[in-house]
């Protein structure tokens, strides 16, 4: 079977399966989960039974159902964040590369300042100031993350704007918007797509991390980072409750990375055509 015109390797298949399973869980959550994410159905930390597949959590909600709904919030928030971050970072990165020295200096130095402040500290300050609703969470992480996207897209675009087809467009008298959108962007896509996978992983871990600290997604919404925190104490009673969401976080990260590695290898693979005769 071929995906995007290429044959996935074995590790890529594993990654595609993991990511596909979680995304399916996120989309079809209400049909898969036997209970809703907030109803109390059992005693605190009841052990797994045939009814409660993974047992219950710290206040007696079905862990399996919360895992399924958790996929929805955690992956959804991370995805929305990454998309927004790419819209901001990519357009500013291209603008910096195409728009001339002054634009580049102003944008780049501003980003340098942003980058000099530790990400987590920055996020904690903003979220404690504005409170952590899902929109603030997404916008905050997206803006912070877009600085990284900016750096890469600017570097990629810088190598493209010196090419003669871009010069030809300038000589024709084309405006900045055309040059960014039609000449540079399509050629910057391959590295940016693999970067998207990587940034998604970081954002996903970051959302989970913030939730673990209590500043991310708020109860009663289920999310994997928050579930690790809520059930953390169970570990001292020898219960597996906090390990399920932790494992989901790990599996999702590994899965996305396997897919990204494969996408990167497509871009880097030497082809017969590129070898000089």
């Amino acid at each position: 079977m071929r995906i995007l015109g290429h044959k996935p390797s074995l590790s890529a298949w594993i990654g595609i399966l993991i990511v596909g399973a979680f995304i399916a869980a996120a989309i079809f959550a209400p049909f898969i989960a036997p209970f809703t994410e907030s109803e109390k159905v059992a005693k605190t930390w009841s052990p797994p039974t045939s009814e409660f597949l993974l047992g219950a959590d710290n206040i007696g909600r079905d862990l399996f159902s919360r895992m399924v709904y958790g996929a929805r919030t955690t992956i959804g928030v991370a995805l929305a964040t990454t998309i927004l971050s790419f819209i901001i970072g990519l357009s500013l990165g291209l603008w910096a590369a195409v728009g001339g020295k002054l634009v580049d200096q102003v944008l780049s130095r501003f980003v340098d300042v942003m980058l000099s402040i530790p990400l987590l500290v920055f996020a904690l300050i903003i979220l404690s100031m504005f409170g952590s609703s899902i929109p603030t969470l997404i916008i905050t992480i997206a803006i912070l993350d877009s600085t990284r996207v900016f750096r890469l897209s600017r570097a990629v675009a810088m190598n493209l704007v010196v090419l003669e087809y871009v010069e030809a467009a300038r000589l024709r008298g084309e405006g900045l918007w055309w040059i960014m959108r039609r000449e540079v962007l399509p050629n910057a896509m391959p590295p940016m797509i693999s970067e998207f996978g990587l940034r998604f992983c970081f954002n996903f871990l970051f959302v989970a991390g913030l939730s673990f600290l209590g500043l991310g997604i708020q109860p009663p919404l289920a999310d994997w980072g928050g579930m690790v925190r809520d059930n953390g104490k169970a570990i001292s009673f020898g219960l597996l409750a906090p390990l399920w969401p932790a494992m989901a976080i790990a599996a999702m990260t590994v899965g996305v990375n396997l897919v990204v590695d494969w996408i990167l290898s497509i871009n880097a693979r030497p082809s017969g055509a590129s070898a000089e005769m």
Binding site: L163, E164, Y165, E167, A168, R170, L171, R172, G173, E174, R182, E183, P186, N187, P270, S271, G272, A273, S274, A275, E276, M277
Partner: protein, 536 residues
């Protein structure tokens, strides 16, 4: 009859995509003999050169045949065994010396590395031998030359240093892969003479790879003509030059001969100038790239600007189109003064001056279809409807000799010549008065380049467009230009009708330039060198 020192039998090389790069090629080399490999890009010359050391580039694979060096099939032995043979018995001189030296080490250290590694000499002997090689190669101040870093010497000197590196283990066979192609003509002649001397002095056998028949004719005893990975013809140099047996070899020879003549042009009145540059000065930071250059181009006229690399000819083109800011002087287009900066020029002025680049590969956006590329100027300058644009694209494709259905394709799969045709179509789409051609054929093979020149000539007759043609190739100048300007270090040293510039009395530099262009005669190199020695 001595034994063959290198014997290649039924060599077959494939790319991983499955394409056959070299198909059933056999050759042999006697001690001290030079075999020239000639062919166009993609003929498999370099691939064969590397395969003679049982080496294949990334993406290629030797899939059949034997390579025997001194009776030993080196394809059959271990990688360690091959490593011993390479360098000691056979060595390689690449096209780009600058890319082959490590910029972080002194030249002499890189040259001594090989004999020491192969256990042939100790470090002191290796240094002494390297200095001797520098002397044999006429490098300035041979005792001190090696102490320099690669970026501190000129391109021609570095190419010679690379020949010294290849000779450092005294191999019996050398493989020269276009060693002079990247050099200017006046440097090429020196390097060529020294390579010839080196091969004779040390009685080394050599494979000499080149696309220029005239260059190969100077050094090779025999010539092998290759095309598409297959042997077309092999024979003594004189026989291939004078009585080629195959049609393809005949075409190559005829094409190369045409470059040596000045063609007779229909006259074009030099009044009615469309472009007039007067006393223009162009600066890169504080470096003066263009010094007080004055030149004019009339409607429908071809003006060639020739010079070697660094002479400022491309800078002149960039100054005219507004990419290189001019600090003084004036550029007038159709009577109007052109603003020095690109962004201050009105759209109509931009439309009427078009540029064609040297590398068609990077001049076309790989993510746009050919229809989009050619159609954009039509849409942009003339505000035509999509249907009118499509119609115009079809007629432009016809005009440059490409099929109409190319409009929907991407340019990436096309050959260099076809890509250059698309660049020409894009320039024509703007209906310009003048097209500035910056070495438009130097990245192309001879026969393809010839087609492009013919196309440009035909378009000029049909549309009356003027060309400012920037080139280092005097053969092209003589064939296509009405007027010629010669540039040297940013200055214009000669300017006039082509026949006059290339007739006595010459400017000394023009003469040097002219006499350095290889001619298709076996004894040309010796003749020129003897003549120059007599003059000096």
């Amino acid at each position: 009859m001595t034994d063959n020192i290198l014997k290649i039998r039924n060599l077959r090389i494939e790319a991983i995509s499955g394409a056959v790069l070299v198909d059933d090629v056999s050759l042999e080399l006697r001690p001290g003999e030079v075999l020239g490999l000639i062919g166009e890009g993609g003929a498999g010359k370099s691939t064969i050169g590397l395969a003679s050391m049982a080496y294949a580039r990334a993406g290629c694979k030797i899939t059949g045949g034997t390579v025997e060096i001194e009776g030993q099939n080196i394809r059959a032995i271990s990688a360690d065994g091959r490593r011993k043979v390479r360098g000691e018995h056979i060595a390689y001189v690449a096209q780009s010396a600058a890319a082959s030296f490590n910029p972080a080490y002194r030249i002499i250290d890189q040259i001594c590395e090989m004999p020491v590694l192969h256990g042939q000499m100790n470090k002191t002997d290796a240094r002494a031998w390297a200095i001797e090689l520098f002397r044999a190669l006429d490098l300035p101040n041979p005792e001190k030359f090696g102490e320099r870093y690669p970026h501190q010497v000129s391109g021609g000197q570095l190419q010679r240093a690379m020949a010294a590196m290849a000779m450092s283990c005294k191999p019996e066979i050398l493989v020269f892969d276009e060693p002079t192609t990247a050099l200017d003509v006046t440097t090429q002649i020196e390097v060529l003479a020294l390579i010839k001397k080196l091969i004779r002095e040390f009685h080394t056998a050599a494979l000499y790879i080149s696309h220029d028949l005239a260059v190969v004719a100077q050094v090779a005893d025999r010539i092998m003509v290759l095309r598409g990975g297959k042997t077309v013809e092999i024979g003594e140099t004189a026989q291939v030059l004078h009585e080629p047996k195959t049609d393809y070899a005949r075409a190559l020879v005829a094409e190369r001969k045409a470059a040596d003549k000045i063609s007779t042009h229909r006259a074009v009145a030099h009044e009615n100038a469309i472009l007039t540059v007067s006393d223009a000065v162009g600066l890169y930071e504080s470096f003066v790239a263009v010094k007080n250059v004055s030149i004019s181009v009339a409607r429908g006229e071809t003006v060639a600007v020739v010079g070697e690399s660094g002479s400022g000819k491309s800078s002149l083109a960039r100054l005219i189109v507004g990419l290189l800011p001019r600090s003084s002087g004036s550029v007038k287009f159709d009577g109007q003064e052109l603003s020095p900066a690109l962004k201050d020029r009105p759209r109509d002025q931009l439309r009427r001056i078009q540029l064609i680049y040297q590398q068609p590969d990077v001049a076309l956006n790989p993510r746009q279809t050919i229809g989009e590329i050619i159609g954009r100027p039509v849409e942009f300058y003339f505000k035509k409807s999509p249907a009118e644009v499509a119609e115009r694209v079809r007629s432009l494709l016809n005009q440059v000799g490409l099929p109409e259905d190319y409009a929907k394709r991407l340019s990436t799969a096309l050959s260099g010549g076809q890509k250059q045709r698309i660049c020409i179509a894009r320039a024509l789409a703007a209906e310009p008065d003048i097209i500035i051609c910056d070495e438009p054929t130097s990245a192309l093979d001879q026969l393809v380049a010839d087609e492009i020149l013919k196309l440009l000539g035909r378009l000029q007759e049909e549309l009356g467009v003027a060309y400012l043609f920037i080139t280092h190739d005097l053969g092209i100048v003589r064939r296509i230009s009405h007027r010629t300007a010669v540039m040297l270090r940013g200055e214009l040293i000669a300017d006039g009708p082509t026949a006059e510039v290339f007739a006595l009395p010459f400017h000394p530099y023009t003469e040097r330039l002219l006499s350095s262009v290889p001619e298709l005669r076996i004894d040309w190199l010796d003749e020129v060198l003897t003549k120059r020695k007599a003059e000096a």
